[in-house]
Each structure stands twice: as structure tokens, then as C-alpha cells.
Symmetry: C2
Subunit: 216 residues, 2 copies
């Protein structure tokens, strides 16, 4: 089973690593990081680079595709090489997935039209504008399309997919090995739970640029 | 404020990225990935490479050090360049931290002797054997030494540290922006919660090699 995680300049690191660290626990999984060109791909903060081992052309038939998000929606929505590849590989994937604003790429590629999906909380209106029915859920399954909310939600999505593909016990093993027993020191992880003035501040500061990075 | 995340062959990706994605939200933070040599450093599954931008010699005075773990404790405990660097930089750090079996490197460097600390649940006995008082807590503060449990716990540690350094509101903003509102589809994230037969299986399979990767 080949799992392809798409990279592009200014992607958000945890969006890619959450699914990687969980889906990689599927027995026999081969994970490839794929981009327009091989080599280091810088993240949204410009302080990290992940190495793409393959070009899009070299990965024509992945079983699972994962598209991470990034803070400037144009990086996904106007990324023609990425969108072309998504349209092509989607024809034969078993699962087509995204984390955070990665769903804007799937939507811009025309793959989510009329479907239920999610995205970073700051990007849900943009997603609606692309003919998608956004939900406030953390992980949304609609047929073979699986979308997750902002950044860290890719861990939850990955575990859910491991369960579907390899069974509950395998998913529980992955959760146990990554010791995913979350104990956040605050309860501010969603716009419904965070202090209202912080939610408003970030809505103002990010404007239409969805999914601002933690370092912004 | 310079934050140095140490890399070495066969590190676990999420151990490094959890703190990166949270500590990077400290205003003015400069994050550097540092290793024995610059360039790509392969992770424990050999399917991902993160780029080290600096050598240990080039980062003599970081304010915060983060040591990720990896599944074979020898990679940390017998890594003399890493241990030498940790001993040297610890003299001037504000915070010296680890995720997962990264604490075995801090302990092997002699920095945790007599202190309370934690590690991956599979490595707690090894930690005790190094003169450290292990606890079952997810994040342990002992003076300037902050250690986190397995893999995903680095997110919780990172948020706690952002709060200490930059205040509760900044930490809440980081949590909101990475949408860290965990909803794991299973409740198997610790040896106390996971099915007992899975805990026993992984204790047997990993033996003394602490902290097996999700992909093992």
C-alpha cells in the first residue's frame, strides 16, 4: 500500500506529520513524500524543510493521498501541478484525504463538489464558496474522501483511517505507541472553546488568508 | 530566543514536530534544526528526512534545547557528539527539554541525575536505571528540565512551555491556530487505558529497545 503525502512550499509541518506518524503504522505501508521537484521543501515558517523523495510524475497510482494545508490558501488553490496530479491520481486512489486547508486543494481540483468536508476553522467559508458543504466536525468521511480540521486533527484522522484499513486493534496499537493520550494544558483548541477575544483577533488578523501558522 | 531541536539518524518525526509547531508560536522565536552534520537526517522509518540547517558546533548557546526520541535507545545514549553538545549547551540554556526517549540522552549526559523526569512508557525502567526518578506524568517540570512522555506528548509540553514563556493567552492562541481539540477515535493512548493484551504484546516485542515506532 503506497501512501503519498504531497508537499509544496509553505505547507504546515504538523499537517503532514500527524498523518505520517499514524498511517505509517499500517502493516506494509510505504510512505512517499511527493512534490513538484525532489529535494527540500520549506514549511510555512521557513525554519523547517522536509525532503520530497519523488516528483508528482513518479507517483501515478498511490493508494492513499494526503494533502496538508498551509496558511496562504493560494499556495494550494492556485498550485496547478498539485491540482493536476490530484485529479489524475484520484481516479485510482482508495482514499483521498486532506488536513487543514489541504481540503481547499481538493475542492479547487473539483474533487469535493457537493460533498461534506472540513478544513481549518478559519477556512470553512472559503470551502463553502467552492461548492462544498463544510461541517464543524473534526474528521469528515464522505465516501473515499476524508478531510480533517486544522493542523493537529490529522492525528485523529490518521488513527480513524488506520482503524478502517487495518482494524481497531492496529489503530489502538498505533495510538499506544505514539502515546496519544492528549492532556492539553488549556482548553482553547476550537473557536467554540477558546476565549472569544482571541477568536475574533485571529479572524481579523488572518482575513482571507486561511489557517495562519502558529508562528505568525 | 533561539530554540534548537536536535536531530540524529532514526529520530521519531512527531517527537520533533510537536514541539516545533507549538514553541514556534513564541513571538520572536528562531527555531534551528541541528545535528552532527547539516543536510537531510532520516527518521526511524527511513521514509522521511528532515533537513538539519546547522551543525552542533554552529549552535553553542541556544535558549531552549529539544531532544526528540527514537525507537533504539542506543541512538541517543551512545551518541557522543549529541551528549557532548547537550552537556555544553545546558550550561547556558533557559530550558532543556526532551520528548519520548530523548530523555535517555539527557540522562546519559548526566543532566537528569536525581531529578524527576519522564519518557515513553516503554522506556521508564531504563530511565530509572540512569539515576532518574521517573514519573507516570505526561509532562514533567523539574527546574529548567522539562521532559515529555511518548511521541505525541511533545505537543502538550510545547503548549505548557509557551504558556510559561509567553503567557497563557499566547499559548491559547497557538492551541487555537493548530486547532488542538483532540478527539481520538479510540481511548488507547496509555498503558493504563489500552487493551492489556496489546500492552503486553508491545512490551514483549520491543524488549529493551524502548519506544518502538508506530511503523514497526
Amino acid at each position: 500500500m503506497q501512501i503519498a503525502i504531497a508537499l509544496y512550499d509553505r505547507f504546515t509541518a504538523l499537517d503532514a506529520i500527524g498523518p505520517y506518524q499514524t498511517l505509517g503504522g499500517i502493516p506494509g505501508a510505504e510512505v512517499v513524500f511527493v512534490a513538484g521537484r525532489t529535494g527540500p521543501v520549506p514549511d510555512d515558517a521557513g525554519q523547517l524543510a522536509l525532503v520530497a523523495g519523488r516528483t508528482f510524475d513518479e507517483v501515478p497510482h498511490p493508494d492513499i493521498v494526503v494533502v496538508p494545508g498551509g496558511p496562504d490558501q493560494r499556495d494550494q488553490m492556485e498550485n496547478e501541478p498539485l491540482l493536476d496530479w490530484l485529479r489524475a491520481v484520484d481516479a485510482t486512489t482508495t482514499w483521498t484525504t486532506s488536513v487543514c486547508t489541504g481540503s481547499l486543494a481538493l475542492a479547487a481540483a473539483g474533487l469535493l463538489t457537493g460533498r461534506e468536508a472540513t478544513s481549518h476553522w478559519l477556512a470553512l467559508e472559503v470551502l463553502d464558496g467552492l461548492g462544498v458543504r463544510s461541517t464543524g466536525q473534526r474528521v469528515v468521511f464522505d465516501g473515499k474522501y476524508v478531510t480533517a480540521a486544522g493542523v493537529s486533527s490529522g492525528i485523529d484522522m490518521g488513527l480513524a483511517l488506520v482503524g478502517r484499513i487495518a482494524g481497531d486493534e492496529r489503530a489502538q496499537s498505533v495510538q499506544l505507541l505514539i502515546e496519544y493520550d492528549p492532556q492539553p494544558p488549556y482548553d482553547a483548541g476550537s473557536p467554540e472553546k477558546a476565549p472569544a477575544h482571541l477568536v475574533e483577533m485571529w479572524r481579523r488578523e488572518t482575513g482571507l488568508a486561511a489557517g495562519a501558522p502558529a508562528g505568525s
